[in-house]
């Protein structure tokens, strides 16, 4: 049964994860993600789950991967400095095709930066920090309600595609209290992990189904599985030859990119026939939304395009939403990151970066001031 609560995004994520069936959480304290961890430490064991604080973020992410292979729906949560330590584990999860959810609550970097305040400066880190060829879904909510909903969706994508999924929020959202409808386990769509369809002697752990994602057997089920971090063939055998390697990495990337319909999700506000479109995401999009309303009141045809998934980049969705636009403004709380993707996709349009660094959230007047210079 659903219920409404007044909670911030960190707690909404914890609730969303539990609604999706979370059974294992490992973490290491870090501002501004610790209260998500503390909340689960209290709530998850009551539901039969396990919450453990590890010695560092490296231990946490690897424990989450191990738990996933023992059958758990598993998650960890951190912020930029902790994410840096989790990167090798993220690579392991990608290579071994381990379903898990990694929450990254952005703060201001580089290094220790400003732990308690926000920016959107880690949107490349979460997508590109690991070495090697890969693609990883990154979901980006703008409210506590969406944090709940996207936590559920993150688990569903992880299970459907046997992949780690990153849920990217920031320090402002993490602690902005809002009304959230917490749906019950029976009121949300839950995607289940696909079990083997062959007996153990015929089952191949990395053999893709039609949608390129493989089925999964756990430890303890009698399949004699090998979770392999080396480049491997469909059976999991190390294959240091070009053909097998290329087949593997092309599939690892295509598995995400070709299933982008499961991931891509955009909110469009007044983009139809708009002369100007603002591209904004996460907490910054809330101010961008206010700017759109302000400029509309003045009779300007402005719209908002807000992706709920940053990666894979939804080029078609953006092209469609900006068909009528003369200018596209990319508003970010960083020095210009997603704007490069927008420029790449909208080659023949004028794309203008609006980079407003603000340790709270870029306020609407700062954004509109920048945008007005181009109108």
């Amino acid at each position: 049964m659903s219920r409404c609560e007044y909670i911030p995004a960190n707690i909404a994520i914890a609730e969303g994860a539990m609604a999706a069936g979370l059974s294992f959480f490992a973490g290491y304290p870090i501002t501004p993600a610790s209260d998500l961890f503390e909340y689960l430490a209290e709530k998850l064991p009551e539901r039969g789950g396990v919450v453990v604080q590890f010695e560092d973020e490296i231990g946490s992410i690897n424990a989450v991967i191990g738990a996933a292979w023992a059958g758990a729906k598993a998650m960890t949560a951190t912020s930029g400095p902790g994410f840096s330590l989790m990167v090798e584990g993220l690579g392991l999860a990608i290579m071994t095709e381990t379903p898990l959810v990694l929450v990254d609550v952005m703060r201001a970097g580089p290094s220790t930066g400003v732990p308690t305040k926000t920016t959107q400066s880690d949107v490349y880190q979460v997508r590109f920090a690991a070495h090697g060829e890969y693609s990883v879904p990154v979901l980006v909510p703008w409210s506590a309600q969406e944090a709940f909903d996207l936590a559920v969706k993150a688990f569903n994508i992880a299970e459907a595609l046997r992949t780690p999924v990153i849920l990217l929020t920031d320090a402002a959202l993490a602690h902005t209290w809002e009304r959230v409808e917490i749906k019950g386990h029976d009121e949300i769509e839950i995607v289940k992990r696909r079990p083997p369809c062959n007996p153990p002697e015929k089952f191949k752990l990395y053999e893709p189904c039609k949608d390129l994602a493989p089925r999964m057997a756990y430890f303890g089920e009698g399949y004699g599985i090998l979770v392999e971090s080396l480049a491997h063939d469909e059976e999991g055998y190390y294959s240091p030859n070009t053909e097998a390697y290329e087949r593997l990495v092309r599939r690892l990337v295509a598995k995400i990119e070709r299933n982008s319909h499961l991931i891509a999700d955009n909110e469009e506000y007044l983009t139809r026939g708009a002369e100007y479109v603002i591209y904004a995401y996460g907490s910054t999009a809330r101010s961008a939304y206010a700017v759109v309303k302000e400029l509309r009141r003045e009779g300007l045809r402005v719209g908002l395009f807000r992706p709920r998934a940053l990666w894979p980049f939804d080029a078609e969705g953006l092209k469609k939403a900006t068909e009528s636009a003369k200018k596209v403004f990319v508003v970010e709380n960083n020095l210009g990151k997603m704007v490069r993707e927008v420029e790449r996709v909208l080659k023949n349009k004028e794309v203008i970066p609006i980079n407003v660094i603000d340790l709270e959230v870029p306020p609407p007047d700062k954004i509109s001031e920048e945008i007005r210079r181009w109108l």
């Binding site: 396990v50 453990v52 191990g66 996933a68 430890f219």
Partner: protein, 270 residues
């Protein structure tokens, strides 16, 4: 072809293994599998509940040869991966097998904390005193003064005493064996598999190709004999006798045996 009694625990089509002639890792793995087989035949262990987790290195390759569930993960991280698996499904019998660099070097922090938690795992550390897979660099267990490719003038550091390190954190079982004494490996593994909490078995093992040859042992048998000579079994040795000393040799035996509640029991998961 007539099957070896341990073939059922191996993916025989992946053999021959990558280990060099004279390497001790195969001897250690065989002894571990014999102990597992004894527990299985006694009905105390189910093969489908066995999980072997390894990191990276020569020893870590063992994961790819066993027929039961296994994971060949990343350098130093086998212990947290294994902890996660055990916590998620307490029925699993989770073992970690790794080299001294993997377990006590890059993975040293995880080792320390898993021992402190008395995490319900059996960890085997194969000590060959060198980073072998990468070509002979200094390890945390390399004897002081010894030549390695990254300490060409001799190792200036003191080797870590992992037996003491793990024992002082509260591990339930701490023993040292050697591949020159495979019966001890089998006996200690058999005992460890019947216990809860953190169990640690160090296994001294010759690396004739990368360690022995670099320090003047031209023949694998010479290094084997040297390690055999230096390894002295002692019933119930004290921690004070646990130093790994190339000049004076080392003691094999069971240093610690406790029956404290394992981590799963402490959090009410059993």
């Amino acid at each position: 072809m007539s099957a070896h009694p341990l073939d059922k625990y191996l993916v025989t089509k992946r053999l021959p293994h990558i280990w060099c002639p004279g390497c001790g890792i195969g001897v250690a793995l065989a002894a571990i599998l014999r102990a597992i087989d004894r527990r299985v035949r006694e009905g105390a262990l189910k093969p489908e509940n066995l999980v072997m987790v390894t990191g990276i290195g020569c020893t870590a390759r063992a994961a790819i040869y066993v027929s039961f569930d296994s994971a060949h993960t990343i350098h130093g991280r086998a212990i947290p991966f294994a902890s996660g698996a055990k916590l998620a499904n307490p029925k699993l019998e989770v073992m970690v097998l790794g080299g001294d660099g993997d377990i006590a070097g890059i993975g040293g922090n995880h080792l320390l904390h898993a021992a402190r938690r008395n995490m319900d795992l059996t960890v085997f550390m194969i000590t060959n005193m060198v980073y072998a897979m990468t070509g002979g660099q200094v390890a945390p267990t390399t004897p002081t003064g010894m030549y390695t490719t990254t300490t060409p003038k001799g190792n200036p550091e003191t080797p870590v005493n992992v037996i003491k390190l793990v024992a002082y954190q509260g591990a339930n079982y701490v023993a040292r064996a050697s591949t020159t004494h495979p019966a001890l490996i089998e006996r200690y593994t058999y005992r460890a598999l019947g216990m809860e909490g953190f169990r640690f078995i160090e296994i001294i093992s010759p690396c004739p190709e990368i360690f022995g040859r670099h320090i003047g042992f031209r023949d694998p048998v010479e290094l084997y004999e040297e390690i055999k000579k230096k390894s002295k079994y002692k019933p119930k040795p004290s921690l004070e006798e646990s130093d790994l000393d190339w000049e004076r040799g080392w003691v094999l035996g069971e240093f610690i045996e406790r029956n404290e509640p394992g981590y799963l029991k402490r959090i009410g998961r059993v």
